[in-house]
Every structure is written in structure tokens, then in C-alpha cells.
């Protein structure tokens, strides 16, 4: 598979990171997916996708401070790399191009 391609979960995760800015970490990303995309994704699946994105060079991460409420575990924050931003923009352009003239409201193809 081409390393520049984005899966749908990967694209949604990158958009969530973009929207959350400096506060993009596991819990906040999961909430963003739930409220905006109505996707209830297991946190393990989110980290697996992020590992893939990091390998592709689309996101980078760093550890925050550990807190007691997290049982002493640190948060892992994410941000998009310029390469990731470029790939996301290409995906957006491709989807927008393919969507022209299509109306998929309600899960059916409307004329």
C-alpha cells in the first residue's frame, strides 16, 4: 500500500488532531470522534492508527506530564507534520472532486 494514502480512520484522526490543536491526546481525540463524527472507536484502535501515521511521517507525538487522575500515566500529544498536512489536503481535494454532483444524504444516492 502506498505510504501516502490515508485510510478513513486515519483521515478522521488527523482532522481531529487539527481541530484540537495543542490539546490533541487520546481522550480528547476520542471525544472529538464521538461528538463530531459519531464514531465510538476503542482507544487501542486510535493508538494503533497513530502508530501507523507516525511511521508514515504524517504525525509526531510527545509525552506530557503524568497526572494522578491517569494513574500516573503520561498523556501522549499529537500534531500533524507538514507532510501529514499535505497528504490530508490531497485527500480532501480528491474527495471533494469525486463528490461534485453527488448527493448522498440519508445514505442513498439522490439526483
Amino acid at each position: 500500500m502506498n505510504d501516502r494514502n490515508l485510510g478513513s480512520l486515519e483521515a478522521i484522526l488527523m482532522l481531529a488532531v487539527l481541530r484540537l490543536g495543542e490539546d490533541a491526546y487520546g481522550v480528547s481525540i476520542r471525544h472529538e470522534l464521538l461528538t463530531r463524527a459519531q464514531k465510538d472507536v476503542a482507544i487501542g484502535a486510535i493508538y494503533t492508527a497513530f502508530e501507523r501515521l507516525e511511521r508514515k511521517g504524517f504525525v509526531e507525538s510527545w509525552l506530557g506530564d503524568p497526572t494522578a487522575v491517569r494513574g500516573g500515566r503520561a498523556k501522549r500529544y499529537y500534531r500533524l507534520t507538514p507532510r501529514g498536512l499535505k497528504s490530508l489536503s490531497e485527500t480532501q481535494r480528491a474527495i471533494q472532486g469525486m463528490m461534485v454532483g453527488l448527493n448522498l444524504a440519508g445514505g442513498t444516492l439522490n439526483a
Binding site: G26, I43, G44, T48, P66, V69, R73, A74, R76
Partner: protein, 224 residues
């Protein structure tokens, strides 16, 4: 500072195989944080239910992905490799016969200790120590799953061996031999003498790696 509610952490045993992975501390931390949020929003009973359900979901999402599937398949390959190599290895020992023969032909013993060592070295000790190291090098952070998979394979192989030799076992007991032949005993007890080497080697690799990378937990805050 608000009181911190206790999550049903016992269910985390399901995630034990994934504890060596780099994302594990974050998964556990996120679950704890979201649990505390749920306690204040929906109450402790709902939060505990959610926590148990999420741990189960995470178990499946971490199991059904290619690294875990590779971890399950790779040890199978090594076990098959090991089972096909002892005889060529034995031929390599042939030049040592002048030294081994007097030992192997010790009077009064059906199978001398030296011949057992000669058999165990290529089939047990070397693979037992080497396989977890090679598997861990290929699939970093999955040492616990590798241990579990090897354990399951060798217990399964031993059970298969027992089933295949069931008739000769019964036959030997019926005619009153009393003592089972060494080949059958060695086959049945294989997990007993190979798994300690596998676990020892795998735990050594895991500890060495976690010392190098750290696991993202702050002991000071965790204790607090």
C-alpha cells in the same frame, strides 16, 4: 483536590499481553481519565460498567491487527523449523563420536545422560533461548504475547503427542512394564523443559528493552 474513584482494574488482566507495547501506558491512562470523568457525570456504577466494557473492546482491537496476528504465526514457524532440524544437527555431532560413544554406552542405563543432553541441546536449550530473542527483534514490544503463544504451542504439541501415543502408553502399562519409555516421557514432558528457557529468555529481552525505553509511568505520582 477531588477524591479519585477506584476503577475495576482487575479487568486489566485482559490487556496483560500488550503491556510491553509503547502505547500501553497511554491506553491505561486514558481509560483511567475517562473513568474519572464518567464517575462525576454518570455515577460510579455506570463508570465501572463502561470501564469493563472498554477494556474488553480494547482487548479485541489490540488482538485483531496485523502485529498480533504476526506474533501468533511467527512462533509457529520457529517451532516447525525446530522440529525439522534436529536430525541434521545430530549428524554434525558425528565427528564427536569417539568422545561421546564411551559415555553413551555406559552400562545399565537405557538412555545415558549425555545422549539426553545431546538431544536437548539442539531441540530445547538453543531454540528455547534463541527463538524469543529473534521473535522480539522482529516484533518489538510483543514479548508477552510471544511467551503466551509459545506456551500454547508447546502445551498443544505435548497434548497431541499424548493423544498419538495413547495406545502405546496403555499397552506399556498393561503388560506391566511400569516404566514408560524415555522417548515417550521426553515427548510428553517437553513443555516442562523447554518453556522455562523460553520464558527466561523472553523476560530478559523485555526487561532489557523496557530499561532502554522506559514505560511512561511516573512511580512518584502513581504511588500518590
Amino acid at each position: 483536590m477531588p477524591e479519585i474513584a477506584a476503577a475495576p482494574r482487575w479487568i486489566l488482566f485482559l490487556l496483560w499481553p500488550f503491556k510491553g507495547e509503547s502505547c500501553y501506558p497511554q491506553i491505561e491512562g486514558d481509560l483511567s481519565e475517562e473513568f474519572q470523568q464518567r464517575v462525576s457525570k454518570h455515577g460510579i456504577a455506570d463508570a465501572r460498567r463502561w470501564y469493563r466494557r472498554e477494556v474488553c473492546r480494547n482487548f479485541w482491537s489490540l488482538t485483531l491487527r496485523w502485529p498480533t496476528i504476526a506474533v501468533i504465526v511467527l512462533p509457529l514457524f520457529f517451532v516447525a523449523l525446530r522440529d525439522s532440524t534436529p536430525i541434521p544437527f545430530m549428524y554434525l555431532l558425528l565427528p564427536l563420536r569417539p568422545f561421546l560413544d564411551p559415555l553413551l554406552a555406559a552400562p545399565g542405563t537405557a538412555m545415558h545422560i549425555m545422549s539426553i543432553i545431546a538431544l536437548l541441546l539442539p531441540t530445547t536449550i538453543i531454540p528455547g533461548l534463541a527463538f524469543p530473542v529473534v521473535c522480539s527483534a522482529l516484533l518489538r514490544g510483543h514479548e508477552r504475547i510471544i511467551r503466551l503463544v509459545f506456551t500454547a504451542y508447546f502445551l498443544g504439541l505435548s497434548a497431541m503427542f499424548g493423544i498419538n501415543h495413547f495406545n502405546s502408553l496403555i499397552w506399556e502399562l498393561r503388560i506391566g512394564m511400569g516404566i514408560l519409555s524415555p522417548v515417550i516421557v521426553l515427548g510428553l514432558l517437553e513443555p516442562v523443559y523447554i518453556l522455562p528457557f523460553i520464558w527466561m529468555s523472553s523476560i530478559w529481552v523485555e526487561r532489557r528493552r523496557s530499561r532502554q525505553t522506559g514505560d511512561g509511568i511516573s512511580p512518584r505520582i502513581a504511588e500518590g
